[in-house]
Each structure stands twice: as C-alpha cells, then as structure tokens.
C-alpha cells in the first residue's frame, strides 16, 4: 500500500447517547481496492460507517479522506467530498419510483441534466431489471433488486469511495452471488469500495483487504488471502 490511503481513520470513538460503541478504530482504505470489514453483529461495523458519513457524532479520534480532515462533518459535506453510503437494510424511499430513487442519489450534483441521465443509463445497463420496472414503487422490488437499486443510487452521486453496509443480510445466496459480480465490475471501473459484511465467505471472496472488528475495536487485519488461512478467523467466523 505504497500510495497514501484514500480514507484514513485513527483512534475513532463514537456511540449513541451514553452508550459508547466504538472504542478506538484504526483503519486505512487503499484507493482502487475493495476493503471489507467483518465481525459479528453488534460489534460496531454499521456504527463505524454511520460515523464516517456523519450520521453518528464522533467523540474522539479523526477521519481523513484524500488528505482532508473530515472529522465531525455533516452528512451532506461527507457526500460532497465523495463518500457515498449505501445504508443497512437498503432504505429506499417508499412512494417514490425506482427512477426517482436513483435520481435523488444525484441530489447534490450541479452538472447538466444530460450528464445525470447518462449516469442513469450506466446504472440501468449494469442492472437491467431496474430499467424495466423504473416507474414502479421501489419498495415493491425483491430484496436483491432493492440492493441493486440502493447501490445504483449510491453510484449516482459519482463518489470516489462507495461504502456498502451489509450486502447479503436477508438475501438468498443466489442474489448475493449476482450482486458480488456487479460489485467487482464497479470496482474494476475505478471505484474504491468499503464493504461491511457479516458473511465472511462472501466478504473474503470480494475484498483484497479485511479488518475484523470485535466490540468496537479492530482485532485482526490484513490481506484476505492470508487471513483465509488464519486459524483464528476460520474458527470464529467461517465455522470451518
């Protein structure tokens, strides 16, 4: 990891009210790669993403993105800086069509209508099902299709870093396989991805680099091809 990391987090602490969840996270996301964060639920994976995107206040430590200090910025500043966040449970906007859901992903972008339409077509080509049913209410889609729409909505903001919270939760294995393929394709087109994933097998197949989070602190971390052999990881998280 010779180049400076795209995202650098040091000593990050955060929580909800007086319940502290993150007890000092240190993490680096190299540009151009897929990095994954694994660990059991309740370990603080989602809280970490929500703290980076400004939904949860930082109590200590700092967040650096492309060299700029982002600690404590509001969600719209974080998005403007180029970090998009696909939230846990997809959370598409009910009562809005698939097309409107995707368009609102570009809410902050000032470019012309044509550029935005162009990006919309790019998303449609990646997930054709979305184009077929673009006028339908987004929440009538199946779990897997909703995840595609949520990822598409994230891409529409033209980020440098795409954070995805729980890709596979509640999805049938078949849907997860298809989504993993699309993510690889998106990454190859130059978008850095930070993936929070509870299913370690899927995470390690996708990511080149992994951080294991236990009760709010980074436990083991390193390249996934080494970690796959690590007995501690295999026993605790892969049940093999």
């Amino acid at each position: 990891m010779s180049k400076a990391p795209l995202l650098k987090i040091s000593g990050l602490q955060a929580g909800y009210g007086d319940v502290q969840v993150l007890w000092g996270i240190d993490l680096e996301v190299p540009a151009g790669q897929i990095t994954c964060i694994v660990g059991s639920n309740g370990a603080g994976k989602s809280t970490l993403l929500r703290t980076i995107s400004g939904l949860v206040p930082v109590t200590a430590g700092n967040i650096e993105f492309c060299g700029a200090n982002m600690t404590g910025s509001a969600p719209d500043a974080v998005l403007a800086a180029g970090i998009a966040h696909v939230p846990e449970g997809r959370r598409l906007f009910k009562g809005m069509s698939i097309r409107d859901n995707l368009l609102i992903g570009a809410y902050l972008r000032q470019e012309s209508r044509a550029d935005i339409e162009h990006d919309l077509e790019a998303v449609y080509s990646m997930f054709p099902i979305l184009k077929e049913r673009q006028q339908q209410d987004a929440t009538t889609l199946s779990g897997g299709e909703q995840q595609m729409c949520a990822i598409g909505r994230g891409i529409m903001s033209k980020p440098q870093l795409l954070m995805i919270d729980e890709l596979s939760l509640g999805l049938a294995p078949r849907a997860v396989e298809k989504l993993a393929e699309s993510l690889k394709q998106i990454n190859r087109s130059g978008l850095t991805i930070l993936l929070v994933e509870q299913d370690v097998v899927t995470a390690f197949e996708l990511a080149s680099q992994a951080y294991v989070i236990e009760t709010g602190r980074v436990g083991i971390s390193g390249e996934t091809r080494l970690l796959v052999e690590d007995p501690r990881v295999r026993q605790a998280y892969m049940g093999i």
């Binding site: 059991s40 639920n41 309740g42 509640g170 049938a172 294995p173 605790a236 998280y237 892969m238």
Partner: protein, 257 residues
C-alpha cells in the same frame, strides 16, 4: 406423537400481493421443524398469521385441537403459542428481569408479581443471563438480547415456540451456543419451529424442513431430501451452495451462506 399445531391452506393477501398462499402443514408434539426461505418469502407473515398478529384471508389454524385462526396475539400467548421477534423487541426502559417477568405474569398467568419474578429468574439462569438481571434491557449486546427473547418466551411456558430468525446476526461461535440452548429447550418437550435463512442452524437441528418461496410451500420433508430437491436449489440455495453440498457431508460444519 399427536399433532399440536395444524395449519390448513392458510392464505393472506395484501391488496393483490399474495404474501402467503394456501400453506398447509402440521407440527407434532416435541418435534423440531425448520422453516426456510429467502427474505420476503412470507416466513414472518406466516408466523404473524399463526399468532394472530395478522388476520388470515382464508384457511385456518388449529392449535391444541381448537380453531385459533381469529385469536388475538395475547390469547395465542396465553394458550401456549409463543414467538420471538425477528427484530428483537424488548421493553426498552425495563430491566432484563422485568422483561421476562412480563411473560410469566401475563401469558403464564402467575398469580402475582413476586411469583412471576421467581419464575423469571429461573429462566434467566437457564439462558445464562442471570448476572444481568437488573441491568436495563437496552444495555445488552445483540447475542444476549436474543437470549433475552428466548427467556421471555420460555417464561410464557409455551407448548409451541416459533423462533423467528433468533440467530440472525450471530457469528458461528455464538450460533453454536444458541444451538445447544435450543436442544435443551426441545428436551423439555416444547415443540419448536425454527424460522431461518441460515442453513447451518436449520440443518443441524431440524428433524423436518419446510421451504417457503413467494408465499408457497414448495417442499417439505427431512433435511437431506429437501436440500437436494431441484426446485429448492433453483429457487433458494444457488448453485454454489449445492456444489459445496456434494463435496461435504451435511452434518459436518458447513460454511453458513
């Protein structure tokens, strides 16, 4: 073994959308049955229909010989039909002990609060939460919250226990502990229906498996036949899982998907 719960072509549609379509099955006393299916297949809707949270469009539910289709949830709870929630639902501003006492006091009908609290403490010891009895329920980690749900439903001294994704979000070692707990519950003669989309849990515990897909029961039977049933593989498991199955005997540790 006599049947304790029978569901006869139960259906529920929400304005055109068939969430559950003529589902029929029955549970024998003391049996452990798995109900699997992808998210949105209608598993939780089915549980809500059986426990009276939702009114069925057609078909009925026979529990302990009585037709309980139109029962309200609290009547189902009092007659011994308990369920845990997929999204854990504690009473937020109450302690762990109070949460479990509620089950003993209302569903199991303990005469007064002191007696209910004694019973609650026993169940907390059984699931290993006794030390946190006086802590607020919200301070528990996710695995212990799941055990709180379990303790609460046990306190309702149920005849049938519907465990709705009680293992979702747990890592492998936490699931191991949950499995031993469930085997201990089954040993007490309580019939368990395990609602999951984690294959590992369902395979190693259930004597029979029902597969739900788009609201319909597409397969029923012992674990081996079900996971090799082509319709199940096509609709739910995905080729990679099936491939992995051929290589490894089902009862050995199977990477949960």
């Amino acid at each position: 073994m006599s049947t304790i719960l029978e569901v006869r072509d139960l259906s529920k549609n929400f304005g055109g959308l068939h969430a559950v379509k003529n589902v029929s099955f029955s549970l024998k006393k003391g049996e452990i049955v798995g109900l699997i299916g992808p998210n949105g297949a209608g598993k939780t809707t089915l549980v809500n229909l059986i426990t009276g949270v939702l009114k069925a469009t057609s078909g009925n539910v026979i529990f302990n010989g009585q037709d309980v289709t139109a029962q309200r949830p609290f009547q189902a709870a009092r007659s011994g039909l308990a369920r845990t929630f997929q999204i854990v639902q504690p009473f937020p501003q109450m302690t762990v002990l109070e949460n479990v006492t509620a089950g003993a006091l209302f569903a199991a009908g303990a005469s007064h609060r002191r007696q209910a609290e004694q019973q609650a403490m026993e169940h907390l010891e059984f699931v290993g939460l006794a030390p946190q009895a006086l802590r607020p329920a919200t301070s528990l980690t996710l695995p212990s919250r799941k055990r709180l749900e379990l303790a609460k439903s046990l306190a309702m001294n149920p005849k049938v226990l519907l465990l709705d994704e009680v293992n979702a979000g747990l890592n492998t070692s936490e699931i191991e502990q949950a499995l031993t707990l469930m085997r201990a519950i089954a040993a007490r003669g309580i019939t368990i229906m395990l609602i999951e989309h984690l294959m590992k849990v369902v395979l190693s515990l259930s004597e029979r498996i029902l597969v739900l897909h788009h609201g319909e029961l597409i397969s029923q039977g012992d674990p081996q036949t079900v996971i090799t049933d082509p319709r199940v593989v096509e609709a739910y498991l995905g080729s990679k899982f099936a491939a992995r199955q051929q290589g490894v005997a089902p009862t050995a540790g199977v990477a949960h998907v």
